[in-house]
Amino acid sequence: VSALDPIELQVVTGSLRAACEEMGVVLIRSAHSSNIKERRDASTALFDAGGQMVMQAEHIPVHLGAMPAAVAAVLGESHAEGVSWILNDPFAGGTHLPDITVITPVFAPGKRSRERSHEVLLGFAASRAHHADVGARVPGSMPAESRRLEEEGVVISPRPLDPSSAEGQRTIEELVARMRQPHERRADLRAQLAANRAGAQRLIELAHRVGIDRLHEATDAVLDYSERRTRACLASLPDGVLHAEDVLEAREGELVLRLRAVVAGERLLLDFSGSATQHDGNLNCPLAVTRSACLFAVRVLTDPDIPPSAGAYRPIEVRVPEGTLLNARPGAAVAAGNVETSSRVADLVLSAFGRAQGQGTMNNLTLGNNDFSYYETLGGGQGACAHADGPSGVHVAMSNTLNTPIEALEREFPLRVIEYALRRGSGGCGRHRGGDGVVRELEALAAMSFSLIAERRRQQPRGADGGEPGACGRDLLDGRPLRSKITGALLPGQRLRIETPGGGGFGDAREPQH
């Protein structure tokens, strides 16, 4: 079946995995944005010469299915040694504007170094990182009330970037000049380039190991292997059609999302036809983000040990009509789509398969002025499982970023933390309890703007199999309730308090535990 024997297969898979991990280490440890270095909001991946993702390091699920779109966006270009590509346009390979992707083509070193034309393209190394600011009116570039993409920051259509040339330096300077803290942005881009160099080096080593002519065969074998593993998992799910419906809490009212999931043998169809059309706010998603959320949920439902490669996703079809919230047309505002709508898409798939819901939001809070931007996302309650309580105070789905330590935050920013605690009793009851949300209260020590994007403030996370729902989240400014998607100003001494939702319970609490 495979070009590799069972042993070589395992060794090549391991090498690719290690290479992507190493890229991640370089990126996270040398970056400057707290989003990347503390929160690890970044991803690294390797691709074959045909643009298929052969492996990804798994730092954060929201990037899972969205990296291939970035490489697809530059695949048709002509590539040269040392010339990388940079982009963030959600409708040309990106997700939302703060996620900047750098793609580096990898060439086998020519037998004679002067014969550049004979160099063989081995594949691509790609890294994506959430930069702390990419322009826009609001520091942190996560505006709560944007209506068009260009209000959300600098849009970078795919463009070449050769950091060793004067032109490349100009490209970088021109881009970072339009963002806040340009020095930090420059350093983060440098960290991304360094990560790609590390990945390129490992891919070249692997090519030498298996033979440059056989690299393609080897990576194909890894893709096929992932596909076989996924098929085996899907085959073990009962055939049938499942439905789920849920909503997003837009300013203008609830937006309905619908899913029809069809399990047929070794294949899975996720069809979102009938979901709301794209709206005039920023809950829209490019298709790549919707795909990411679906693939995350499938990974939860199948076997997370399957190598995350394009092969793993071949048996899964994601169908979304264009012009809907989950496959928006170019130009739509998308800031919240990547963080919030993606969470809801994961909820839909997991609900269809009978899971209790987690908090279903990342509780995005951005604070800043001309001197700083600070973005944080807050954990909440996880939905309970059939055999265990849901954990409390964690990121539940599309994010898994760390918090910023209070002792780091209070040194770096004009902020004081008043309280950081579990929100006890917020998880839904059940045979197994949903996890509790958290309470976080901050005081501004200087004048600053804030931008809050949150969900599950009106609709509770649902339980499953008779379990009760988790509590809604709420947000308060000096004790007064706030809208869940809002941009505003804080004066010194003002306090912002966020209480995140609990997770749904599983099973009827009155039934005895099994």
């Binding site: 040398s30 898994n400 918090n403 040194r411 004081r416």
Partner: protein
Amino acid sequence: MLLGVDVGGTFTDVVLLADDATVHTAKVPSTPSEESLAVLEAVRAVLALAGARAQDIERFAHGMTVATNALLEGRTARTALLATAGFTDVIELARQNRPHLYELCRAAPTPLVPAELRFAVPERMAPDGPLKALEPTAARELVAALAASEPEAVAVALLHSYADPAHEQLLARLLAELVPAVHVSLSYELVGTFREFERTATTVLDAALSPLLSSYLGRLSQDARELGLCEPQIMQSSGGLTDPAHAGAHAALTVLSGPAGGVGGALALAALAQETDVLCFDMGGTSCDVCVIEGSQVPETAERTIAGRPLALPALDIHTVGAGGGSIAWRDAGGALRVGPASAGADPGPACYGRGGEQATVTDANLLLGRLLEDSPLAGGLELDREAAERAIACLGRELGLGPIDCALGIVHVAEAEMLGALRVMSVERGVDPRGFALMPFGGAGPLHAAALARELGVSRILCPRASGVLCALGLAAAAPRRDAARTVMLDADALSPERLSRERDKLIDEASAALSSAPWRIRVRHELRYAGQSFELAVEEELAPAAHDPGGRDLGALDPDALCAEFARAHELRYGYRDDRAAVELVNLRVSVWGASPALRPRVQGGQHPDTDVRPIVFDRGEALPASILRGELAPGTRVCGPALCALPEATLLVAPGWSGEVDEFATIRLMSA
């Protein structure tokens, strides 16, 4: 005479270094329910072997797993926590990430302090000092309430206490007054660096394990005294020894002491072999520990974890993967051959142990390939059952469509890929190029895989010590006493004056030196720096001549901040591929370590003779069986070893692949070079 006793999961190893530098070794089965039983039995055994008396022992160094096992098994003290009001859940909130991306209900380790034993202290420090003072009356009332909950141990961890410990100190005085019998751990004293969750969790771990460790060490000291033995010195996670009182008061310092002894042994033997750069791997039954010696030093870190809990204390930077002799091979749903992480352990053990194990393991594969000798019993008097190994491997081979020999080769290859990954994490991922390094395998199974790993890493020299099967115990015998002190100082470029630097540094040197019972022989200062805005630090080290440190005279010579920053930029470029000379550098933490004298280790070979040699077939990488010389017993210095060959050492087996050759040096280390 120096004595080292290392307690492992299966065996307790002992090494006695006699005054004439002769090395005596023994192995007895461990006694997990009361580790000291096996410790004393091992001591008696080696004394008998060496014909020595307990009174002849000058130093008794001990590595143990008491605290580690108690943690893994949940046998911790009833522990209370005093934390800043509004932040008592920090211990439970951790860093808010879930432990597994896709197993959504996998729980993080349960906090060692339940919610009802977390007490809110009405105080608040800011980075620059008190924001809300702790009133003595309120503090007294709180400590009284805590006393009523009858804890066995108390952890005190207040926000920003690394910057101003006054409130933790006040609570410590009240605890000493109101609950004098209860163990107390203070975060500023134990950890001293910023990041509240890691500092709190480390302090809580320390409190929760100290009562148990302290009573174990009390019993062991008592037993040692009755035997006429001196007081045991305890191995810390940092690789240095400390006295039982200090170890018992701070269990967190020894919780990763297990592999630290082995690193010490590797360092000592590498130094004797005059190798400064060595990759080391210690392969036992269930796992493989990897570390790197660079410039005759093993890197340290304060970011290790144990059983999913952070440990913000100095520990040798050791990376562990689940590839050991007992790791089980299996076929996954995609048809790939996998090895581990499940292990057959010691019981039933690999199929060839003949204790009912039916699954193929790495040890079974090595036996089938002729790389382990069935008639050369493993340590502990174990006979190997080749037929059982063959049955298990043939069975897996049928599932994979491979013959037994190809399957066995595959198992070894996949296990080696796992170890290779660990070696890469510790070298290339940290900016270290392994070519030019030597490779030192140890543990019972390590030397079997050295040649294959060396080839993959581009390494051309292998050092295999005679005592590689008991290297941890040897390292203990050769270890030095050590104390540490650390503080977050957070000095930006403007505050980085030579005077300020020396002042902060000297304070820590005095603190660490005072705790060391003898005069320091070595002082090391680690400056943890970063570019302003980064969140990870890189260390720039400075070694001070102890003579230069005169506690009365003060002046150690002013440090040059510019040199420090230049050194940091160099390190940053090496590690991450770029430097940024326009960025400001800040000094985040200072860590001072002081060492007492360490004994000189020059093991002498006893009764080394030219070995009996016979020739047997061994299957090497390409699948063909080659006739290989089999060398058994003690190898005398000067003995030539030429691959293909197999050296059956007393506690380990070294496989010498074709193309490798060398000889035994004067310290009984087998030194191989590739052609």
